[in-house]
């Protein structure tokens, strides 16, 4: 849904020379010691720019070391529509992406400990076709939610997605109700379901599992929204304000419980999850 083009504008890659000791913040251009940049989990404490993380980095940052066992590691993308577009076949493109990233789909799910507490964690990965929501993604979320219910663990999801993956057409669209039906079961089981919205959380993902969390935590400045900015501007024939569809905008409009800089995420989650008494 109009999000891939977005990739170029929003996520300037990091200008860094391997042996360089410095990192230049893509947003405010500040020069930051590489060490400090890593310590701050690739965020800029001057302008709070948050660089995208891989799912592996996300898991490492949230869970206790060596506490993570992946669920459904072999579940991979499928090609229900035998989709071919101007750039060739979806199956090939996905296979390529898979080899390049080592990922089998746009999400990894598993069970691990967060400061000692067992949780089910699902983490999307923008590198796999923009973190787009497709059959495999929805299925892994559903299976993870079922695992949470079986073990009675809280379920935490980290959204990072350009929306539904067009290449799987209607199957991708159906992952929206499918994941929401799974979240409804979590609610029935009175299990905590925390949604962490990172940059970007858009389209079909914002309009499904990401937006029905008990508690919504957004990373600063994350782009969170349903319709594409350009589509909206064409519709209303006006420029949108700078902060439109940012985490801060959603906080002001009532859709996000809190904005937590990345370094504070793990402790905040630990804090919140202690409040479950059912």
């Amino acid at each position: 849904m109009g999000w891939f083009s977005h990739k170029k504008k929003q996520a300037p890659t990091l200008e860094v020379a391997k042996e360089e000791v410095w990192v230049v913040c893509p947003s405010c251009k500040a020069h930051v010691y590489r060490e400090e940049w890593e310590k701050n989990l690739k965020t800029c404490d001057r302008c709070s720019f948050h660089e995208r993380l891989t799912s592996a980095e996300r898991v490492a940052m949230l869970l206790d070391p060596k506490s993570y066992t992946e669920l459904n590691p072999r579940l991979t993308f499928s090609d229900p529509l035998k989709f071919v577009d101007a750039k060739g076949s979806y199956a090939e493109k996905a296979a390529e992406t898979s080899t390049k990233t080592g990922l089998k789909e746009s999400i990894i799910t598993g069970i691990g400990r967060l400061r000692g507490r067992k949780i089910v964690l699902a983490v999307m990965d923008f590198r796999f076709m923009g973190g787009s929501l497709a059959g495999g993604t929805g299925e892994k979320i559903r299976l993870a939610a079922e695992a949470a219910i079986r073990h009675r663990y809280p379920f935490v999801i980290v959204a990072a997605s350009g929306g539904a993956r067009m290449h799987e057409g209607i199957i991708s669209l159906m992952q929206m109700p499918k994941t929401c039906a799974a979240i409804a079961r979590l609610r029935e089981a009175r299990l905590p379901y925390i949604s962490i919205m990172t940059d970007p959380t858009t389209g079909g993902v914002s309009a499904s599992f990401a937006m029905v969390g008990d508690i919504h935590i957004a990373e600063p400045r994350a782009l969170i929204g349903f319709a594409g900015r350009r589509v909206i501007e064409e519709t209303i024939k006006q420029k949108l304000p700078e902060d439109f569809q940012t985490a801060e905008y959603l906080l002001a409009h009532g859709f996000v419980d809190m904005i937590v800089p990345r370094p504070g995420l793990r402790d905040t989650l630990h804090q919140i999850l202690a409040y479950r008494r059912t």
Partner: protein, 314 residues
């Protein structure tokens, strides 16, 4: 009003018009008229027997295609419209209310409402609903659950309204919440895609026990134009995108997304309202009868399994 690809038919129809305009036509003229009518029907049959997906999109978007209020007029003996979301407003892009079908079955009907002219379209925003429309729909569904009424959800929208106000008031939340609540609604839900199944805007009221689709309706994650402009870098490649996206009823039936295809009269529903009403009415009656006896628990678990199966690596 005929579609571009129906030009062969249009030509015959223009001739027929001229001939029929003759005051008292002689035998020869009458014979030509009969012949032309036979040709017209054959042409129409041929065209509609091999519609391309992109042609199907044109039929699905036909301005005279029956819209929700037409279905309500054609299928019910009583409709009590209910307004408002009890929170912010009364969106005209989605309407709904209590209704009694011709077979006396009482239901809650809701769905997208498009306009037949510019004035109506401005009022109902071309069938593109805002959050308050989805929240009204949810209120009516919960009311149906309380009264023990089955829900009939009619889908015909280009998509959820992509406006700044809609975004501001939580279009994403409204759609997500609807799907979650519909997934566990303790009453039968029958979904009927009649025209355009516009992505999130459609699935926002599209979770049900039985999903039916009119023969020439379409249902897609993105419009062919939108997909073409991104994956083909060229909006004019919409026909190719339409092919690739598998958005027609036969494809969706094959992909197990829908449960039934409702045949349309020759040349599409817009050419014969009474016929489509008859077909839809019968099928709805049967479908409801099959669901009404089922316990709420069984309905909900079957619904979960139905959507769970969509996209499981078969």
């Amino acid at each position: 009003m005929n579609l571009d690809f129906e030009t062969p038919v249009t030509e015959i129809e223009t001739q027929l018009l001229e001939l029929k305009a003759v005051a008292d036509p002689d035998a020869a003229t009458r014979a030509t008229i009969a012949e032309l009518e036979k040709q017209r029907e054959a042409k129409l049959k041929a065209l509609y027997a091999s519609l391309t997906p992109w042609q199907t999109v044109q039929v699905a978007r036909h301005p005279e295609r029956p819209m929700l209020r037409d279905f309500i007029a054609g299928l019910t003996v009583e409709f009590v419209e209910l307004h408002g979301d009890r929170l912010f407003g009364d969106d005209q892009g989605i309407i709904g209310g209590l209704a009694t079908l011709k077979n006396q079955q009482r239901v809650m009907i809701l769905g997208h409402q498009k306009g037949k002219n510019i004035e109506e379209n401005l009022r109902c925003n071309f069938g593109m609903a805002r959050p308050e429309g989805y929240r009204k729909a949810l209120r009516l569904m919960k009311l149906a659950e309380k009264y023990g009424l089955p829900v009939l959800s009619f889908i015909d929208t280009p998509g959820a309204f992509p406006g700044a106000d809609a975004e501001e008031r939580g279009q994403a939340e409204a759609i997500a919440r609807n799907m979650m609540e519909m997934a566990v609604l303790k009453t039968p839900v029958v979904v009927l895609i009649t025209g355009e199944g516009g992505s999130g805007g459609a699935i926002g009221i599209g979770v049900g026990d039985v999903i039916l689709m009119l023969q020439y309706a379409v249902y897609s994650v993105i419009s062919p134009e939108g997909c073409a402009s991104i994956l083909w870098r060229d909006g004019s490649k919409a026909p190719e995108a339409a092919n690739a996206l598998k958005i027609t009823a036969p494809s969706l039936k094959q992909l197990k997304i829908i449960d039934g295809i409702i045949p349309e009269p020759l040349g599409g529903a817009h050419r014969d309202y009474p016929a489509i009403m008859q077909t839809v009415g019968n099928l709805l009656g049967k479908t409801l009868k099959s669901l009404v006896g089922v316990s709420a628990g069984k309905l909900v678990s079957r619904r979960y399994n139905k959507f769970a199966a969509m996209g499981r690596a078969s």
